[in-house]
Symmetry: C2
Subunit: 515 residues, 2 copies
């Protein structure tokens, strides 16, 4: 795996550190619904705090869709983001009837912002069952792969399949980012939460990559935890966590759970970090029902602003804004309707209260020393792992059939025997059903037939696989094929529940293939 050059200056803070007086260009997307109100509040606070930012206001979301821009993101916006590299983003709507593409996803994919960062920290004045326990951790979620690749194929009319795709490159990038984030915030522990006990190849790839990457960070404790236990521990003892890194789907669920511990999605902020672009936003949506009424709470957006200010190296301004926000929440006299116990303030009044706190005598809220996050340098070569030896030793053919395992087994045994394969087993929903291993398996019409070459030496050729498929086609409908590969002599596929370690004995008197 690639080493990180720790002397390299981080991309986004270099200019800023060299010339603090110069304005930093930031693309700002006011967004839809309450977006303009809360983004406007955050901009006002930033300006009042002396953040010295040159805002480039750009359009995305509902207005763009309405103009016929099917991605929801105009070229002018893309160009601005490509130039500034920093985005403060309001919530974007995906209107019904415009193809259903999300401008949020378009932006994430367009700029490969692979790291979703969700700080989870107690806020003063926001009552939760966990108040006073000093919850303060960060969820780092992979943002580009996993089930979110959205690759789905109905296998049969009643059996659906999604592909969970996890890559070494994706794991290395997100694992390194988690450690770099920990380093930049002086955090001492990084947990990696996976389902590697069940999904040894996909979830296991993150676990193994995490453990390999951890060696480069000797000052940080690296711990693995099973993801269901992690969800449990978040509720039982959330104080134990510092940074937690996860694959995309697990991170989706656990980051929303975590937000619930400290006041909910309404006050949560997130960053989406990539090599060239960093995007900061509130987790909440556009809340069209209260848009334009001065009822929106800009807390989440101001928290996103604080993350952004730290990312561009403006640590003092970030600290002052953060302290002013917390002080305002703690005093509690100018809260928006979602939080107010008595008379509610408007968005503008809350914002003015925060601005007033910027110059008030502040108590120190954070003892944490921040440094810029060094984005990991992982080579962009598509090939990240190169085995010394490799071969194909068989093939899994997925077949649709409405009869029994024994009947299908007889047909597939014949198809294999005719073409230089032995049928090792058939599984149904992951459990071996042929040869029968006993039990009450309630089968569906989607069968995985595992064929292993009968040749003692050398691998399986594509020609041999074609011959097998032709033979299978003679009696049955197939819809999905997976080669069974070995890399460096190790099986690159898992066994079915109940599948033996040894291949079946070769059938000595093959039945004729029906093809």
């Amino acid at each position: 795996m690639g080493k990180i050059d720790t002397n390299e200056t981080p991309i986004h803070s270099a200019t800023d550190l060299r010339s603090f007086a110069a304005k930093t260009a930031v693309t700002v997307l006011p967004g839809d619904g309450i977006g303009p109100e809360v983004v406007g509040a955050a901009m006002a606070v930033a300006d009042a705090a002396g953040a010295n930012i040159a805002w480039e206001i750009a359009e995305a979301g509902a207005q763009s869709f309405a103009k016929g821009i099917t991605s929801g993101v105009p070229h002018a916006t893309i160009n601005s983001i490509a130039k500034t590299g920093i985005v403060l983003k309001g919530p974007l709507e995906t209107p019904v009837g415009f193809g259903g593409k999300s401008a949020n996803v378009t932006l994430r994919k367009l700029f490969e912002t692979y790291g979703n960062i969700r700080p989870i920290a107690e806020l003063p004045g926001i009552a939760t069952p966990f108040a006073g326990r000093n919850i303060d951790f960060v969820v780092v979620r992979e943002n580009m792969e996993d089930l979110y690749a959205g690759i789905e194929h109905m296998q049969t009319p009643g059996v659906a399949q999604s592909l969970k795709i996890i890559t070494q490159k994706g794991c290395e990038k997100i694992a390194r980012l988690a450690f770099e984030l920990a380093k930049s915030q002086g955090r001492k522990t990084v947990h990696c939460a996976t389902k590697a006990n069940i999904l040894k190849q996909t979830e296991g790839l993150l676990k193994r990559t995490f453990e390999a990457v951890a060696v480069d960070y000797p000052g940080i404790t690296a711990k693995h935890m099973i993801v269901d236990n992690c969800a449990h521990q978040m509720v039982i003892a959330p104080e134990q966590f510092d940074v937690i890194v996860m694959t995309n789907m697990n991170g989706d669920i656990l980051s929303d759970l975590a937000a619930g511990l400290v006041g909910g999605l309404g006050v949560a902020a997130s960053a989406n970090l990539g090599d060239k672009v960093a995007m900061f936003e509130a987790v909440h949506g556009s809340a069209p029902d209260i848009a334009g009424q001065g009822k929106a709470n800009p807390t989440a957006m101001i928290q996103a602003l604080v993350m952004m200010l730290r990312h561009i190296g403006k640590f003092d301004v970030a600290e002052r804004v953060s302290a002013a926000l917390k002080e305002t929440l703690k005093i509690g006299t100018h809260l928006t309707p979602d939080l107010a116990k008595g008379v509610a303030a408007t968005t503008a009044e809350f914002t003015q209260a925060v601005i007033a706190q910027l110059t008030a005598t502040q108590r120190v809220w954070s003892g944490r020393a921040y440094a810029p996050v060094e984005m990991p340098k992982v080579a962009r070569n598509p090939v990240t792992v190169t085995p010394a030896t490799r071969q194909v030793i068989g093939v899994d053919v997925f077949v649709e059939a409405g009869d029994t395992a024994a009947q299908l087994g007889a047909r597939m045994t014949a198809a294999g025997a005719e073409t230089g394969f032995k049928l090792k087993m058939i599984s149904n929903r992951g459990t071996q059903v042929f040869p029968a291993i006993g039990g009450e398996v309630d089968t569906v019409d989607h069968w995985r037939c595992r064929f292993i070459t009968t040749s003692e030496v050398g691998g399986v050729s594509d020609r041999q696989i074609m011959a097998l498929l032709a033979c299978v086609s003679g009696t049955d409908r197939w819809m999905h094929v997976e080669k069974l590969q070995q890399f460096d002599g190790v099986d690159a596929f898992t066994k079915a529940q109940g599948e033996s370690d040894n291949a079946l004995p070769v059938t000595t008197t093959p039945l004729p293939c029906a093809a």
Copy 2:
């Protein structure tokens, strides 16, 4: 979908209701570690409460593995379970070095106990941040399919894949079970939590099936919720839930999260329900570090006993045991070390305290009227959906390549043109990269090439797919093929991020195929 015969007597309670005096046979697996202590405690409480059970003590787990039984479950045990249909089960260990197969999973698969039931209810005397909020719901988790089918194939040396398999039959069974469970406990609402917004075919299949099944239960409110929001809501407002049904992986995470709300996995019980067998157990493990020391807390096992007693129709006994357990926890003078604030009781002392409460004047703990769960009757035919029309319109070929999208695109365009296909697009980790749609996509060496037939009428033949694969093999290594099917004229596959609705124009001057 199959209708349920609501007049049919439930399988496990019939005998019991007709002849209350006759003993009910139950297979009991004392299990490993603290298993014999906590199972023994539950048996003692059942006997003292007059449950009138004929216990058939059977072996499974570590002892069985040590005797060379590779499944961890001896035939005598299987026979006992097949006969009684009811199991009270202690924790089973899967010792390292015996092939790594779990006796727990073996039992679940062997008897197709497809419904995992996890009651989540506040216990008196157990301090949690949510105490006093009357949390009382049940998580119903599908137990047979999803990513737990464990079908994994490394696609390239650096790219791993797991198949998420969701079936109409599996969804119908678990959705009906959730409604039946609600009915049997007088619960008014069933939530279905899915990720159907992203995984429209797999998670969407549970959502659609749930909505179809709900029509058969007009007295129960059916609500869908996105699963990440459900995790969030569990922490923010857990009181809103009554019954929640989920696919296997989501249910795994959210049921452990839910257990954390009411005291943790140490006091949680579960049932695994199938058509012929119902198995009741504590969620906790065998805790070998405290085994045999009288320190184990039998609360979870006694809760499992209560679930079992209700399942076999002994509602009065169940209620008395449940009330005695809660009274003992509330009084708090005889608690095991995990819960005791002062001097701790032993497992035996705690058990005796519960037994003493059986005959004490009890206050009413539960206002809930229980009835037997009617297990859904879903036909065992593997075929559950039969479209009127179907055809194959193309094929996704997954290719390993280390060069660029443009280079691979040129080769695959040629391969398709030669064989009656047009290359519609290539995606990498789910995002279209050929034809290029712009953006910063960091590619891996695993490319999905989507070929659509150029024929205006009729579908693709297997012979045509073979020709395409032969042509692809001439220049590139493929490892995975998916047919693109249409059922009743509807695409049975999803589009890539950025993929257009229309196929590419047919190439008029095909390049020669390299094969």
